[in-house]
Amino acid sequence: MSYFVQLVVDGLATGSVYGALALAIVLVNRSTGMINFSQGALAVLSTFVAYAVVQAGAPLLLGLLVAVAFAVVLGAFVERVVVRRFEGGDANTAVVATIGLLVLVSGIAGAIWSYDPRPFPSLFPNATLGLGGVFVSVRSIGTTVVIVAVMVLLQLLFRFTKLGLAMRAVADNPSSAALSGLPVSRLLMIGWGIAAGLGAVAGVLVAPQLFISPTMLDFTLVYALAAAILGGLDSPLGAVVAGWFIGVVENLAGAYVDVIGNDLKIAVPFAAMIVILALRPQGLFGRRTVVRV
């Protein structure tokens, strides 16, 4: 029994990593209506900034703050200078532009810091808690707590603030939003800025486990995308819950189903996703929109 619980706890910890990045994806989607493939790369570059600050002898918390500030500016800058060119145009072109950003930003990080993974300090003590034969690291708990807090904050932002309402309106229908007097371009920049800042938080949270390298989040991004879409793309709660779901299901399938094993366990969350999306195309927590003509 404790073995089972341990697998679930491990899955939740891994799922929190997926959820962290998925939150940033949801934020960009909800505030600009786009999918940003460069989300991970921007997060990595910001995390490298934190790394540089720590290397210079400053405490990690300061590094985190500097990284978040850097990321907000970077996100806004990228939106203003690169992404704006493709907003409102062909959706494929916009997605490919973010892929271009992904390659470019990873390349920049690689040129500055090289590709080999480096250890990264953790915000939380390197300790483990044990309860009834189940062990969980303080780092995982810390990561999860921060992510849940961020999720709640995002939910509050979108639900109850004027800024959140405006961001949703811009993502939904930029032209009508502009006709209502919303400063659309500024809101898009803010959306990208906040999302990138959130990505920096996610990066600093997961870097101790993944080690920092330009490709640190490449594969996590696939899981995060899956989590974001499974959760319903516009729901922070959905992104985090779907992240946990993927992490847990994957672990259990790998450990208990011999045919699947550890190599094919990745197929299980994807298969589950197809089934769930077939039944609920809007995702687990997405809002259903019936389009009437």
């Binding site: 073995y3 341990q6 697998l7 491990d10 899955g11 910890a13 891994t14 990593v17 997926y18 990873s106 390349g107 690689g110 810091w113 090289s114 590709y115 080999d116 993974p117 480096r118 250890p119 390197n126 483990t128 044990g130 062990f135 690291s137 486990q209 993944l210 080690f211 390298s213 490709t215 490449d218 594969f219 996590t220 899981y223 994957e250 672990n251 790998g254 450990a255 094993g261 550890n262 190599d263 990745i266």
Partner: protein, 422 residues
């Protein structure tokens, strides 16, 4: 529809332009097949070698997830070659002294790109293809190299296939010990203890992991050593916590962790001890660097951590006064840091590989690829720089890479020391 035809027509011109650009960058058939000239040599010189120069090529992943080891496989080699060039050049068996040029290309671990790079290097007049890293990329190049009779040698890949069949692939050879050599060394250590030992294995789901396991299981066959549980992982996984939890349930005495991804190996070390499972741990040579794996993983908590080693760790304080290491460091700072800024063991290995090339050059009597291969296959008992005492280069053994033996070493909390048995 008329309006569409206009761009389409011009687009064909654009396509044509692309082809022409290729034509210009590449050579035409007539000039591509003849090599550099030679005077006085009995045999016609192979492409890529003149009386004063020889050009080598390498394609490794220089971007993407495997770029850490990939860049090191270039940077270390480049350091050795350039340092030697600066000191006057390489003395060849034909009495000439030549400068070596190394052209390196990025294949991003994509076999198709590796093949394209190989063909490009051949087209540019490369004499030999040396030290490339990556199993699928080198496997894709191997048949072409052997068909075109271009040396594809001293590969930085431990898959057995590059050393297994010299008759079938006479132009291919490996440098680093095969994965199964490392696995077998562990097996032997356990068998020699002559007591019942239970083992859990975690292996990467590819030739790397299976090579390890094959060597290990062959070595423990018929002994009291038993594998009680095993798990695999994909190199793309973000965590192996689930696998470690599963293996910990077996409570085995020994964990053989054939994990090639640094953060995952650290994850193995931290997770197992957090579950209260503290077996003796066997780590492969490429993920056992004290500074990046053992210290972050808290390896001191385990009763013993073993790893196979054949080269000195330049950053280790134990080797701070070693002349090899000092020379390496000097050369690397000058010629390696522009290629990579991080260290993996491949940096030191490929540096040693440069010296093996030099040894082959010194004994090759004609400026031909055939002569180079004969020389390269005839090295034995050669002490390359940075190799640990007792490890020598032997290229004369069938089935084996240039480095065919390893020393097992044990982690003592700061660095490695020789093993006294299990």
């Amino acid at each position: 529809m008329k309006s569409l035809q206009h761009p389409r027509r011009l687009s064909s011109a654009v396509a044509l332009f692309g082809v022409c650009a290729l034509l210009v960058t590449g050579c035409t058939r007539d000039t591509g097949t003849t090599g550099g000239g030679t005077e006085g040599g009995a045999a016609a010189a192979s492409p890529g070698i003149t009386d004063t120069t020889v050009s080598l090529g390498i394609s490794s992943p220089l971007s993407g997830a495997t770029a850490g080891p990939g860049t090191c496989s270039v940077a270390g080699l480049n350091s050795y070659l350039e340092a030697k060039n600066a000191a006057g050049g390489f003395a060849f068996g034909d009495g000439k002294t030549r400068q070596v040029t190394l052209t390196y290309l990025d294949d991003a671990y994509d076999p198709a790109k590796a093949v394209a790079n190989f063909r490009q290097l051949v087209n540019q007049g490369m004499f030999a293809y040396v030290g490339a890293l990556g199993t699928p990329t080198n496997a894709a190049v191997m048949p072409i190299a052997n068909q075109q009779e271009v040396p594809q040698v001293l590969l930085m890949a431990g898959a057995g296939e590059f050393s297994a069949d010299q008759a079938a692939n006479p132009w291919t050879s490996g440098f680093v010990p095969t994965y199964s050599t490392e696995g077998a060394a562990f097996g032997k250590l356990l068998v020699d203890a002559n007591q019942p030992i239970t083992v859990a294995t975690l292996a990467q789901n590819d030739d790397y992991g299976s090579g390890y396991l094959d060597g290990f299981t062959a070595a423990i066959e018929g002994s009291q050593v038993r594998v009680v549980d095993s798990a695999t992982y994909e190199p793309t996984d973000t965590s192996v916590d689930g696998q470690v939890t599963q293996l910990a349930a077996s409570g085995a005495d020994v964990l053989l962790s054939a994990v090639s991804v640094t953060p995952l190996q650290v994850g193995v070390l931290t997770k197992a001890q957090s579950l209260g499972w503290k077996p003796r741990v066997f780590l492969p040579s490429n993920t056992s660097t004290p500074a990046t794996v053992l210290q972050p993983g808290g390896a001191a908590a385990y009763p013993d951590v073993y790893t196979p080693a054949f080269a000195k760790t330049p950053a280790s304080p134990a080797f701070a006064n070693d002349p090899d290491v000092q020379e390496y460091t000097k050369a690397f700072e000058q010629y390696g840091t522009s290629i990579t800024k991080t260290y993996t063991p491949h940096c030191a290995w490929s540096y040693a590989e440069g010296a093996v090339l030099g040894e082959a050059f010194a004994t090759m009597e004609e400026p031909t690829r055939e002569s180079f291969m004969t020389a390269l296959r005839g090295i034995s008992g050669f002490t390359a720089p940075l190799l640990l005492p007792g490890i020598t280069i032997d290229t004369t053994k069938e089935d084996q890479a240039a480095v065919s033996s390893v020393n097992l070493v044990r982690y003592n909390g700061t660095g490695y020391e020789p093993v006294q048995g299990y």
